[in-house]
Symmetry: C2
Subunit: 593 residues, 2 copies
C-alpha cells in the first residue's frame, strides 16, 4: 500500500525562500499571509490530506461511483470525509472574504491544492470545481445572484460545476445546442444535454450549482452567441433555503480509465430555471475566467500525482533487494542490494524528482503573478495578467504531461508490482492521464499558446518572460558557481527565442506552420521556464551551502544539475522538430492515413 507525507520542507522552501522576493504578503489584503501563517495552515492541511483523504484514494478507485435511476453514489467514506472537510472550513480558504471566505493567496493554493491532488485527486475535484464556479459567479454574477449563492458555495454547503461539453462538441463550443428561452419572470428556461460534467451529480452537498453554456433567443451564430447561465439542481426559496427540483437530471455516469471516484455525468436540462451570468451572448468571456483558473488547477493535479508517485518509488527503491550494484555489492550482509544502487533506477528517480520539484517551484512562481493580477493595480496588474495569460497553457499542458510521465516512471520502478492494483502506483498513472485531456487537451493548450498568446499585443506578453530571464541568465553566466548550470540553459533559451521568431514569421504566411510547431514549442517553453526556476533554486542552494553542508540544499543543487544534464537536453530535439515545418504532415493525403 502506498504512503503519503506532504512535502512540507520543500513547500516552505518554495514559499519562504524562492518566492520571498515576490513579497506576496505586501499586496493589499494579503498582509496576514506571512510565512508563519502559511506554514501553520499547510501543516494543518497536511494532516487532513494524509489522514482523512489519502486513505480513501485506493478504496475510492476500486469502488468508483455508482448510478441508479438518476442518483449517483460516491464511494464509501467520501460523504463523511466531505462533511469533515467542510466543517473544518477548508472550502472557505480561497474564497474572497466578502462571502465568508478567507482570501488566501493563489501562491498558497499551488501548495495546498497539490496536497489535495496527491492524497486523493477524485475527492479534490468536488471542492475544486466549486471554487472555479465561485470565481465566475463572484466576477460576473449580479449582486442578487451573489447574495443568493455565494455564501453557501463558499462554505461548501453547495457545490458547483462547469457544463460546457455536449456529445458533438468539446473543443468547438460554437456548435452548442443547449438553448435558453425567456422564462415568465425574467429568468430563463434552459434545455439541452451536457456530457463529461465532473461532480454533476452526487449527494455530498445540499445543492449543486451548474454553470451552463447555452444559446439565448436571437443569439448570433457560433461562438459569439453563447451565454452563461446559473442553473441550480434545486430551486432556491425566497428565504434562501433549498426548494423544489429544477428539471435538472443526471442521465448516466461515465465508466472511465481513472478518477473513478469523481462522478462524470451526463446532465439533462429540461426547461430548467436558469439565471444569466454576465452579459447576454458573451458567455465565453465568463467561461474563460472559470477555465483559466481551472487550467492552472489541472496543472497542479499533475504535480500532486507526480509527488505521490515519486515518494513511493523512492521508498520501494530503498527496500526492494534485487541483484548487486554494478561496481560490486554495497550491502554484502543482505541477500541483495536495494535497487536504488543502480544508475538506471537513480536516473528514473531523479527524473521524477527534478520534474516534480521543478513544477512545484514554477507553479508557485506563476501563482505570484496571479495574486498580483488580483490584488495590485495599474501597470503591475496589467503586466501580471499578461504573464498569467502567457503561462496558463504551459502550466496546464507541460505539468500534466510531466505528471503522466512521472507516474509512469514510478510504476516502472516497481517493476511487475507496479502493474498490480493493490500497490497503488498504476492508479496514479490512470488518474494522471485525464489531466492531459480535460479543460482543453494539451494540443489545444499549445494552439492557445502559439495562436493567441504569442501574437497578443504584438508579442508583448513574451517580453514579460524573455527580458527578465535573459538578464538573469546573463548574470549567472558570470558567476563561477553557477556558470555550468547557466550555460546549457542559455543555449536552450536561445533556441526558444529562435523558435519563437521562426513561428511568428512562418505563421504569418501560413497558419498551419504555427499548428505544426505548437506542441513541441509549448514543451520547449515549459522546459526552458523550468530550467530558469531550477537555476534560481540552485542559486539559493549555493548561497546556503557556502555556510556549510546541508543535505537539503545539496540535494537541491544536485537535482538542478541533473535537470540541466538530463532533462533540458530535450530542447535540441524539440527545436529540430519545430524547424522542420508543416509541409510533410500537411501534404499527406487524408485518404492515405
Amino acid at each position: 500500500m502506498p504512503n503519503y507525507k506532504a512535502p512540507l520542507r520543500d513547500m516552505q522552501f518554495v514559499y519562504d525562500e524562492l518566492l520571498a522576493s515576490e513579497n506576496i504578503n505586501q499586496l493589499p489584503g494579503m498582509e496576514e499571509f506571512t510565512p508563519e501563517t502559511i506554514h501553520a495552515v499547510l501543516d494543518e492541511a497536511s494532516k487532513i490530506c494524509e489522514e482523512l483523504l489519502f486513505p480513501l484514494n485506493r478504496t475510492g478507485d476500486e469502488e468508483g461511483c455508482h448510478f441508479d435511476q438518476g442518483e449517483v453514489t460516491v464511494p464509501k467514506g467520501f460523504y463523511e470525509a466531505y462533511q469533515e472537510y467542510k466543517e473544518a472550513g477548508w472550502p472557505t480558504l480561497m474564497a474572497s472574504t466578502e462571502f465568508g471566505g478567507q482570501g488566501f493567496p493563489h501562491t498558497f493554493y499551488m501548495l495546498f491544492g497539490e496536497m489535495l491532488c496527491s492524497s486523493n485527486l477524485s475527492f479534490a475535484m468536488y471542492p475544486e470545481l466549486t471554487y472555479g464556479a465561485c470565481n465566475a459567479i463572484s466576477r460576473f454574477g449580479s449582486d442578487e445572484i451573489k447574495q443568493k449563492f455565494m455564501p453557501k458555495m463558499v462554505a461548501g454547503e453547495w457545490s458547483g460545476t462547469m457544463c460546457l461539453t455536449e456529445p458533438h462538441c468539446g473543443t468547438d463550443l460554437a456548435q452548442i445546442r443547449t438553448y435558453a428561452e425567456n422564462g415568465s419572470d425574467g429568468h430563463y428556461s434552459i434545455t439541452g444535454s451536457k456530457i463529461f460534467i465532473s461532480a454533476g451529480e452526487h449527494k455530498l452537498t445540499e445543492n449543486i450549482v451548474h454553470l451552463v453554456l447555452a444559446r439565448a433567443p436571437d443569439a448570433p451564430e457560433g461562438i459569439k452567441g453563447i451565454s452563461l447561465f446559473l442553473v441550480p439542481k434545486f430551486k432556491i426559496n425566497d428565504d434562501g433555503s433549498v426548494g423544489d427540483n429544477n428539471s435538472v437530471s443526471c442521465g448516466s455516469i461515465e465508466h472511465k480509465m481513472g478518477i473513478k471516484a469523481s462522478s462524470t455525468c451526463t446532465m439533462n436540462f429540461d426547461g430548467a430555471t436558469g439565471y444569466l451570468i454576465g452579459t447576454l451572448h458573451k458567455g465565453m468571456e465568463a467561461m474563460f475566467e472559470m477555465m483559466n483558473s481551472a487550467r492552472l488547477g489541472v496543472g497542479l493535479q499533475g504535480v500532486g500525482l507526480a509527488e505521490i508517485s515519486y515518494q513511493n518509488a523512492v521508498e520501494y527503491a530503498n527496500e526492494r533487494l534485487q541483484g548487486r550494484a554494478l561496481t560490486g555489492a554495497k550491502f554484502p550482509d543482505k541477500a541483495a542490494d536495494p535497487i536504488i544502487v543502480h544508475p538506471d533506477v537513480r536516473r528514473m528517480l531523479l527524473t521524477m524528482r527534478a520534474y516534480t520539484e521543478g513544477a512545484r517551484a514554477m507553479g508557485g512562481w506563476i501563482a505570484t503573478y496571479h495574486d498580483k493580477d488580483l490584488k495590485s493595480s495599474g501597470q503591475e496588474k496589467i503586466d501580471a495578467e499578461e504573464m498569467v495569460a502567457l503561462m496558463t497553457p504551459i502550466i496546464k499542458a507541460f505539468f500534466t504531461d510531466i505528471g503522466f510521465e512521472v507516474t509512469n516512471i514510478g510504476m516502472q520502478v516497481f517493476g511487475g508490482h507496479g502493474f498490480i492494483r493493490e500497490n497503488g502506483m498504476e492508479q496514479y498513472a490512470r488518474d494522471a492521464r485525464i489531466t492531459q485531456i480535460y479543460e482543453g487537451t494539451n494540443g489545444i493548450q499549445a494552439l492557445d499558446l502559439v495562436g493567441r498568446k504569442l501574437p497578443r499585443r504584438m508579442g508583448r506578453l513574451l517580453r514579460h518572460f524573455f527580458h527578465p530571464i535573459q538578464n538573469y541568465i546573463d548574470q549567472k553566466l558570470e558567476e563561477p558557481n553557477l556558470k555550468t548550470l547557466a550555460s546549457p540553459l542559455d543555449k536552450a533559451f536561445g533556441r526558444l527565442q529562435r523558435a519563437t521568431g521562426f513561428i511568428a514569421q512562418q505563421s504569418m504566411k501560413n497558419p498551419d506552420e504555427a499548428g505544426a510547431a505548437a506542441s513541441d514549442y509549448l514543451r520547449l517553453f515549459g522546459l526552458v521556464s523550468m530550467g530558469y526556476i531550477w537555476l534560481r533554486m540552485a542559486e539559493i542552494a549555493t548561497q546556503q551551502l557556502a555556510d556549510g553542508e546541508d543535505p537539503f540544499y545539496q540535494a537541491k543543487l544536485d537535482t538542478a544539475t541533473f535537470y540541466m544534464e538530463r532533462l533540458l537536453p530535450q530542447n535540441s530535439t524539440l527545436f529540430a522538430n519545430i524547424m522542420s515545418g508543416s509541409k510533410t504532415m500537411m501534404s499527406f493525403k487524408a485518404s492515405s492515413f
Copy 2:
C-alpha cells in the same frame, strides 16, 4: 466501439517487397513458404482475428478473470473461441513439423502474432506462452519428455507457462527459493511458490504444463544452481492420457491495470512431480531460450497494440467534426471540419503511423535472422544468432515503449472520449503498459544490451549491424532521390557510433557509466535501426513511384520523410544524455532522495 482490419497490404509489402532479398523460403525446410502461401494464411488469420478474437477484447477487459477456491474462470466466450482457434489448427503453425507442427518461419509470425495482439492481447497470451514453452522443451527436453508432451502442446490441447518470479525476486533469479527434491522413481518433487504466472491456471485446455525454475539438491549457490523442471498440472498416465492432480494449485490471481482477461496467477507447488529439462543446475540456459523468443514476442505486442490504436485514431479523426482548419474551412457544407485537417492531429497520426509501420518492418527484418539462425548452418548461422542476440533487447524495449507512446497518442486524438472505457482506446494503453515491464523490464533490456551484448566477443555483434548499415547509408547519400532522407540518418548513425565508443571506453573504468547510459543508448539504437529500415522502405517506394503515382508508395515515402524529420531528431537529446555520464546520479545520496 473500435474496429479492426488486419493491415494485409502493409504486411505483404514487408514480406514480399522489403524482405524479398532475404530469401526466407530458400532456407532448408522453408521452401513452401512462398509469398502466395503466406498471403493465403495471413488472409485466413485476419478473419479469425477480426471476427472471432477482436469482438471478445472489450468484453474480456470488462469482465476479467475470476478466481474461486483455486479455480480460474476466463471471460465469457474465451473458452469457445479457444476451442475454435485450436480446432482450426492455429496453435500448430509455428511448431516444428516433428510433433505435428507446420514449421512456419518466424518472419511470418511477426505478422500473424501482430494480428493476434491487435485483436486481443489477453487471448493471444494463452497460445503464445505455450509456444514459448514448446521451444524450450523441444530444444532441451529428453526424447521421452518430448514424446509425452510435445504433440499435445503443439496441438493446443495442453498449454504451457513459464514459472520464474517469486515474491522476493523477479529480475534477480539467484534468490529463487523453490526447490526440487529427488523423487522415488527418478523424478523430482518440486516445492515452492511462484507469482505473476501468466496463464498459470484456466480451463481452456485439458492440462497445463509449467516450466519451473527451482534449486535441485546440492545446487551451487546463486544463479549457477538453478534448474528447469517440467511440472504438469495433472500427471500423465502411461497411455498418455491425463491423470491425477499433481499437487499444483493456484493460490490467487492478480488484479491488474490491464490484460485483465489474461490470468496472472500465484502458483503453489507442494511436492509436485517434476521432470528435469536440460542439464542439472543449468536451468538458466534453457530459461533464456524461452525468454529470448518471449522477448521478441513481447516486442510485437507493442506493434499490435500500436496498429489497432492507430486505425481507430484515424477513423475518429476523419469523423469527428470540430472547429475549422487554421487556413479556412475545408468542408464549408458541414457543421465543422473533421479534426484531421489540423496539423497537430496529423502530427499525432503520423507519429503513430511511422512508429507502427517502422516497427512492423524492423521486426520482420530481425525475424529473418531468427529464421536463418534456426535453419542455416556454419558461419551464416553464427552471424544470424549474433544479430538476433544483439537486437532482442532493442526489439523488446523499443517496440514496447513505442506501443505505450502510440496507444496514448491514440487516446489523445479521441480527446475526452479516449478516457471512456466503452470507446476502447484506453484499454490499449493499459494493456500496452505491462509490455514495458514483463519479460525483463525495459531497463533490464538496456542493461542486457550495454552489459552483455556490446562486450560479447569483443564487440563482434555490433559489426553485424554497423558495417552493412554504414555501407547502405553511404550508397544512399549518393542517390539524389534519397539523399535528403539518408543525410539525417547518417548523422544519427554517427552519434550512435560515438556513443558506443564512449560507453565501451567509460564502462571499462566504471561499470556505472554503462548503466547510466543504458536506457538512452537502447532508444538511440532503436531509433537508428528504425531509420535504416525506413530508408530501405523509402528506396522501394521511390522505385515504384518512378513508374507512376500510387497512393500506397506515396504514403510510404511521406511517412519515411516524417520519420526522419520528426522522430529521428530524438537522437540529439539521447546523445547528450549519454555523454553526460553517471556522476550526478551516482553522487546523489540515497538518503536524500
